[in-house]
């Protein structure tokens, strides 16, 4: 589905990606996951934040991929990186030391305090769906200075109660992070294909602060598994600019071309 005026049509995914890209700046040091976060961070690098540092958990520091990686350890990341360190060093010296300013996360489930589940749907012992698991997410959620969560909006994903708490967001809300001795600020925004949510300054419950062009409050309410609140002044998310769309589409096209590779014989 394309939205916007005819000459500036864009997909919900493109809007999400652009909105995520706008969260990071030139001086940020970003922990980048594969998929939409990688697209967003590289879009930022190729537009308003040329000096941004992108780090992938494969230990590639300062990667500048010309095409988006399919895995977090693609050769392109290493070839363009300032340096590549071992994975234990990456987690010990670089992530957990608190040097990374921004981390992007996705999730299968998220709750009202931006805690997330990437482990199982159903019970842990006999899950209905076994998901990939934690990866770098738990320590990223704890150690990055700010966290942005990017995921499509649906009632299955935005749930009243997580099946498993993989990565800690704002816990039970309020100053729960601080009470546990976590010094970083945690999830700052949740960006979906419908809206942008931010934690309430006091309760830390996610609140809609911006609706994407064409989205209604009702749509958000119907897609959220708890009674979602809205800020007093809900803004309209700025549409992607022509330049942002152009760069994003070019990178994706080049990526698609590069990843076709040779067919498996």
């Amino acid at each position: 589905m394309l939205r916007g005026s005819l000459d500036m049509a864009y997909t919900p995914d493109e809007l999400m990606t652009v909105a995520a890209a706008r969260c990071v700046g030139n001086d940020d040091v970003c922990f980048v996951g594969i998929g939409l976060p990688s697209a967003a961070c590289n879009l930022a690098r190729l537009t308003h934040a040329p000096g941004i540092t992108l780090i992938y958990e494969s230990g590639t520091i300062g990667a500048r991929p010309s095409v988006l990686p399919l895995s977090i350890g693609d050769g392109e990341l290493c070839a363009t990186a300032l340096t590549t360190v071992s994975v234990p060093e990456f987690f010990r010296y670089w992530l957990q030391s608190g040097r990374i300013t921004v981390g992007f996360l996705g999730a299968a489930q998220i709750d009202r305090f931006a805690n997330i589940n990437t482990t199982v749907i159903g019970s842990y012992a006999s899950p209905a769906v076994r998901l990939p698991g934690a990866g770098g997410a738990p320590e990223m959620a704890a150690a990055c200075q700010r966290i942005f969560i990017v995921m499509p909006h649906s009632k299955r994903a935005f749930v009243e109660q997580l099946d498993f708490l993989t990565s800690f967001g704002h816990g039970e809300g309020g100053n729960h992070r601080a009470r546990l001795g976590i010094s970083t600020s945690g999830p700052a925004k949740v960006i979906t294909d419908l809206c942008v949510m931010e934690p309430h300054p006091v309760t830390r419950e996610l609140t809609v602060t911006s609706l994407h062009p064409g989205t209604t409050q009702e749509q958000v309410e119907e897609s959220t598994g708890w009674r979602i609140g809205f800020a007093e002044d809900v803004a309209e998310t700025p549409a992607p600019s022509a330049r942002e769309l152009e760069v994003l589409r070019r990178v994706r096209l080049e990526t698609e071309h590069a990843h076709k590779g040779k067919e498996f014989a």
Binding site: I72, G75, S167, K260
Partner: protein, 281 residues
């Protein structure tokens, strides 16, 4: 001095039923040829350790080699699920699979402690349910600040298997590019097998601080060009993303999977990987 030998001999010698086996390579240099050899030799009841199980453990699990999986992220990178892993966990096919699950930070530091032969690793853990389902998440108290840190036991595999770009004639091994936890996994293990793209006279002109495993840390070396396919060998050949995508269909169905294993693993050998070998300019 490591034993230069066939992959068949190396696996027969080092990998036994019931072993704790780590096959490492963080998205890069994944030792697929060695994994296939373990399947071909019919090993059973293995505890498979790997940060990112990837297709290699999907294959070993689906082929019935594993009793337990120790891991931190089990997906098909950029594609989706590992269907054989899911089938084992969700439906106990072809048998039940016990899980010992960590975060990347926890498992990486556990390998680091293993390489240092320390009994545990301490790190700044974080609240969540992982510590509830894995009894190996414990706590230590800093004797200076009183801060509680998370502790996990050192990872000490019986056997570690890695793939590297090259060995020299003395049996020293060089890993270049994304080095992951390969060095730690080898140093943490009781014994190790390395498959390599090629053997060179010397690592001339190499950097002073390259990631090199001295010959006395490696038990056996087998030359298997292309042995990391469909993952990649930096400087040699690229990741075959098409295969990673194709695997989604192959592995989704038990019969398709079995047929694939039969054709490409059971009725094949390490030499088949040579078709994927290359040396980038």
């Amino acid at each position: 001095m490591p034993h230069f030998c066939s992959l068949q001999a190396a696996v027969a010698d080092a990998v036994h039923d019931g072993n704790i086996v780590a096959m490492e390579g963080f998205t890069h240099l994944i030792p697929f040829a060695a994994g296939h050899e373990v399947i071909r030799q019919g090993r059973r009841d293995l505890t498979l350790v790997r940060m990112t199980p990837d297709l290699i453990y999907d294959q070993l699990i689906g082929a019935g080699c594993a009793a337990k999986l120790v891991f931190s992220w089990g997906g098909n990178p950029g594609v989706g699920s590992l269907h054989r892993l899911r089938d084992a966990v969700e439906h106990a096919w072809p048998g039940p699979l016990a899980l010992e699950e960590y975060s990347h930070a926890a498992l990486a530091t556990a390998y680091d402690a293993g390489a240092a032969r320390l009994p545990f690793a301490a790190f700044r853990g974080c609240p969540g349910d992982l510590a509830r389902v894995n009894g190996n998440y414990r706590s230590v108290t800093c004797p200076f600040t009183g801060e509680h840190l998370t502790a996990v036991p050192a990872m000490r595999p019986d056997v570690t298997i890695i793939h590297a770009q090259r060995a020299d004639r003395d049996g020293n091994v060089m890993v270049d590019g994304i080095i992951g936890v390969q060095k730690e996994a080898v140093l943490a293990a009781s014994r190790s097998i390395v498959t390599v793209e090629e053997v060179v006279d010397a690592f001339d002109g190499g950097p002073a601080n390259a990631c090199i495993l001295p010959h006395w840390t490696v038990a056996a070396i087998a030359v298997v060009p292309g042995g990391a396919f469909p993952s990649y060998a930096y400087g040699y050949y690229q990741r075959n993303n098409a295969f990673y995508l194709a695997w989604d269909d192959i592995a989704r169905d038990r019969e398709t999977f079995r047929a694939w294993i039969d054709e490409h693993v059971i009725r094949s050998g390490p030499e088949a990987f040579a078709a994927h070998a290359a040396r980038l300019a």
